[in-house]
Symmetry: D3
Subunit: 172 residues, 6 copies
């Protein structure tokens, strides 16, 4: 049985992340989505919220489990008996960082394989940061996140309205 | 009549930004330079200063107007009746981010075109960040910004002297 | 009045080329599609065929004219009074070559502007070479070229059946 | 049961190709190495030789089968019941072409997944072309190909001695 | 006599940095390692610690001197009579930033040459940030830094245990 | 004494090549320009012509010698006692190929260092191929090659007038 770990911050998961998780679930026997337990000040949603939102969005995919983790990704992979780490590569901008991470992880645990899916074209410009920025500026995120996550994002920003930490890229 | 929006932070405008605005003004009927109204803590110059400095530097280009905006770039484009968003591509380092932004903007407003000018070679290593860093370290910025902006930068840093937030790239 | 030149080999034009020509026609007053008169041994379709196929595919776009040319692109641009050269940038693989060409052309004729459109996502993996290879291997090119060009390609390959010069990238 | 196709020209297979095939065999139930049946004039080894050399080099990996194919890669994938196409990504130079191929293949057969392994660092500068060039120039290819392939290469070049078609990159 | 400056933050020096410094020392008559005097809040080790750690790690390389500096790199280069600035390029991710810095430095001081070494393959995924992150997460950094620096890192993190500023890339 | 080898095809040398050779001559004690002895059918100028043209263009740089070579670059480097191979990196398009070549050469001869100069901005779009194409199409190459080489190019093309092998990039 092959278990694959799909690690990330998922703050929140986008349709691109859901696409990768679903496609990986069609290939491997079991997928563990690992939500990195980042300090609250660096993320919009708490670790528990990010786990719950991704799990809810994946509803209907039986062989996927969503869990939080802290520490090194390779250590978490071992603890869930994953032989493979799965990552998505977008047509733009991901390759070098993913290559660096893959080489580093393989140096730390040579038997742990890193495999990349090519992100579907229609999600190639998507990222959690961009989705958050669009919501914060009052734009539409239809088709960029699942319905439950769109709802959670809008509620979160309604509460944060005073927050002004807008990422730079969209208007730079 | 074709109106083009040239959006950015312009903190402050460099000779590369002036070059793009001037060249765009030779092609399109009207150019609106859109200065993004970023929170003061993230920029060196206030929104008003950035608008005034760019406008002054453009002195003599009749069909260019400089305005500030907040919210999504595509919404501002619509409000000024721009059919085109103009961006500059430097020989190094801009392509992927610009492609991502262009694809996102076209998804949000398909009728809004994004067009890129290739930045002139002599400005291909220039950025607002680099100019600010050089000034902060006492270096010469001759030929990197217009005279009014060079003067404004030196005054600003004289007042900020105690500031120590030096970007990493020049000395990394 | 702004005239833009859209130069290329167009052997044959793909939906990506049609997309750029049509979008450019919505921005500029007049578009001249310039079909480079390459030696017959290097192309599948003759210069006349390439002009006719692109023109037929553009049927319905009044301000676009398709012409062949030889010599330097900048000289042809001058001869049709184009102020702008238009090029498409795909999310993958075009940037560096286009930047090099743009810088070179601007060095030869500084007043001639080069502007790039971002190719639509759904065409970002398309090229004339790939379309020819798929047809030669018996695959479907639905949605990759216009109907008249699909028909011409199939006829051409029926005649060439013995040709075996298959580009390397699809099966490499 | 998951079957993965690893397609290529393999003219001849390098240690990098062997590495990918072996690692894929540890993850998937069955691997079919598909050797593209390219015209003899474009390759150094015949299709039969390339199949035999790769198969011999893989000696000891029970769930890998080496076969030749012609036509589209996606059609061959279907004929061997592969759900996955496997490719290797080197730290340098492969990403864009692989992304283009992956997007194209997924458009033609959406249910066919393309997954990439990151090539091991020690093979990241290796390619079939480079190995052939080094042998043709009398250099050592120790550690770049398996022993049987090193032997076959030396014999082939002894026969071809008069051949002078030396790829440009090593000495450019 | 040719003196080369090797500038950086070196917070702390990795085996990749040591590799470049040692190789440069084999080519040039004298190497000055310039440790940038960054504000304490932006670095893990103080300027004095970074100088001492690199110098100790270089023990045995007679023509290398480690010094701290503030201000522009080009001004420091002049003050130590360096004709050359040396930089390392990793197979992944460094090129564009280094090119920008090189062009900028040459514009400021045309007579000052910038030369790049290709980082050895086995260090191509290494950076000071990654090393700090691995230590902070309890992972092994064997072979990534010299012994004295490994020891200093562990001691530093033992004291900082409560620190939670974990870079994003390893677990993103 | 440090001797550096600057290898290439130089068919013919451009101002970019001259720039690198001259700058290298200011850093190292001796420069050997190595002109690769490619088969006549692949080059415009014979090996002897390429050596003579580069040597003439370098007139006045005492510590540079121009020689032809065949076989592996690393073997030629050894035969002229070079400790360093010098290469130029243009802002666009050279990095990956140069990195691959450097890693390969260092694997073959670990003690042989490969160092890169950043090509001056004004030559960043130049290549031998582009210069030949412009001449063949009747364009001006002022400032792209030295006077003796411009003269040789024009004479060569006057004789070849019937030649139609025009590289694809300028008009693609």
């Amino acid at each position: 049985m092959t278990t694959a770990l799909y690690p990330g911050s998922f703050d929140p998961a986008t349709m691109g992340h859901l696409d990768i998780a679903t496609r990986a679930a069609a290939i491997f026997d079991k997928i563990v989505v690992g939500v990195y337990d980042a300090p609250a000040k660096n993320v919009l949603f708490t670790t528990e919220e990010r786990v719950a939102l991704f799990a809810e969005a994946l509803h209907g995919t039986p062989n996927v489990e969503v869990k939080s983790f802290s520490g090194l990704t390779v250590d978490f992979a071992r603890s869930v008996n994953a032989q493979v780490i799965v990552r998505g590569l977008r047509a733009i901008s991901d390759f070098e960082l993913e290559m660096q991470m893959a080489l580093l992880n393989r140096k730390m645990v040579p038997s742990l394989e890193v495999m990349c899916f090519m992100t579907s074209l229609e999600y190639s410009f998507l990222s959690s940061s961009i989705v958050k920025e669009i919501v914060s500026l009052g734009g539409s995120i239809d088709g960029m996140v699942s319905d439950n996550i769109a709802k959670a994002l809008k509620e979160k920003y309604r509460k944060l309205k005073e927050s002004a930490s807008i990422p730079r890229y969209l208007n730079s």
